[in-house]
């Protein structure tokens, strides 16, 4: 039984998804302000790490990292509605790449599991 990461397509899938996903996020009026003045190259690497994790791939994220990494955004008002927007963009990206619905649900569940830490709850 192959893993979710293998089924989705591994690193190739992440590479295909990162541009689409990051473009959606940066254009999304609900959340784009959180990316103002951010170094795009560094941010793209972070998006790649995030997608790798959501796709069930190798990652080193801990809950504590997620808390620390988003604490300054929580201060700026980051809340559930923004997290929902990111989840929506993730789903739309995977649909665009014709990932089967069942795998999208699994990736979404992994991403969803970071909600509390990201929002510092």
């Amino acid at each position: 039984m192959s893993s979710l990461y293998e089924k989705i397509g591994g690193e190739g899938a992440v590479n295909a998804a990162v541009d689409i996903f990051y473009r959606k996020v940066l254009k999304d009026d609900r959340i784009k302000r959180f990316f103002d003045g951010v170094d795009m190259d560094k941010q793209a690497s972070k998006q790649k790490a995030f997608l790798t994790m959501a796709f069930g791939g190798p990652h080193n994220y801990t809950g504590e990292d997620m808390r620390k990494g988003h604490a300054h955004l929580v201060k700026q008002g980051l809340n559930d509605s923004h997290f929902d927007a990111v989840m929506e963009n993730l789903g739309a990206t995977l649909m665009e790449l014709n990932v089967p619905g069942e795998l999208i649900a699994q990736a979404a569940a992994i991403a969803e599991s970071t909600r509390k830490d990201v929002l510092g709850k």
Binding site: N15, V18, D19, Y22, R23, L26, K27, M40, D41, A44
Partner: protein, 324 residues
């Protein structure tokens, strides 16, 4: 609190303090320039103790293997003993061959290096004014075409290095320069890919190198250059670029003027705006952006939104005023 031993003295390094900041706080002068882990002017070597990996990002493997690191990016996690690089490591002596005005503010500094310097057009070197002051400049020359190194240096009124180049430096003088570094250069992996190059001011330097490098390597895709400035007079090398466009049909040159008075033959508007307006679908293109930091940041976003992949967007790494 880890301590840093340097020159036989021990210094306490505070939390969130880099080796460079710690030394500076104790009035110890370490050569530095960008303070952002890019220019490699603050190169040091660890004699004992472990250096965090992030302090070696971008270093050549041979240097990293010898425990060299960047003082501005090194936040020690344990006691370390450090020293400045041995004489000559990563440094070359060069002779000024020519200083040639390109426009009212920019000169082309031509340097001859005794030892062969390995570089790619578009990379940068550090030019040392003295033992502690250096600034990074991009290479406009192409190793296969140009005998000497070419730097385009714009005079900044309060600059540390550029006024010295413009007024004090003379043909025949010796200067120290660093190894070439940086990732903004042409790779001949896809000769049919379209290239879009956007530059402002002396940001033309690396682009001029990259374009000629691509052309002599037989690049077949479109190569479109947009060079911008406020006035037509402050654009430079127009004649060279125009004749290059005549010689190579796949190369197009568009000079852009953002100010009010736009003579015939120039596009009106900021270089990145004109470039994106004329090339709205950049999917599959490779993009090079050099010059004013704001232009680079905006241009990156516009190119990405127009379909270019983040992996295909190359930019001058510097945000210091030295490169504007």
């Amino acid at each position: 609190m880890p301590s840093i031993i340097y020159g036989g003295q021990s210094y306490q390094c505070k939390e969130h303090e880099s080796v460079l900041d710690c030394m500076t706080a104790h009035d110890v002068t370490i050569p530095s320039s960008c303070r952002a882990g890019l220019c490699q002017t603050c190169l040091m070597q660890a004699v004992t103790g472990r250096v965090p990996e992030v302090a070696q990002v971008g270093l050549k493997q041979t240097l990293a293997a010898q425990n060299y690191f960047l003082a501005c990016a090194c936040y020690p996690e344990e006691d370390i003993e450090v020293k400045l690089p041995s004489l000559g490591v990563g440094k070359y002596s060069a002779v000024v061959v020519d200083i040639n005005p390109l426009n009212a503010d920019i000169v082309c500094l031509e340097l001859s290096v005794g030892t062969k310097l390995n570089y790619k057009a578009g990379q940068f070197i550090n030019l040392h004014k003295d033992t502690i002051t250096a600034r990074s400049y991009s290479l406009a020359s192409v190793p296969e075409i140009d005998e000497h190194l070419h730097l385009h240096i714009r005079k900044l009124p309060n600059g540390h290095v550029s006024p010295w180049v413009h007024h004090a430096l003379k043909v025949g003088d010796s200067v120290d320069i660093s190894d070439a570094n940086g990732n903004c250069f042409y790779i001949a992996d896809n000769p049919d890919q379209n290239l879009l190059l956007i530059g402002t001011g002396s940001g033309l330097a690396p682009l001029y190198g990259i374009i000629r490098d691509a052309l002599i390597q037989g690049h077949r895709g479109a190569i479109k250059l947009y060079h911008g400035s406020k006035t037509a007079e402050s654009l430079y090398m127009s004649e060279e670029l125009k004749s290059l466009a005549v010689r190579y049909p796949n190369f197009a040159y568009t000079p852009c003027v953002s100010g009010h008075s736009v003579p015939r033959g120039f596009a009106s508007g900021r270089a990145h705006d004109v470039a994106i307006k004329e090339n709205q679908d950049l999917a599959g293109w490779r993009i090079f952006l050099c010059g004013h930091p704001e232009m680079v940041a905006t241009g990156k976003k516009l190119a990405f939104f127009a379909g270019a992949s983040m992996r295909d967007i190359y930019a001058d790494p510097f945000i210091s005023t030295a490169k504007i």
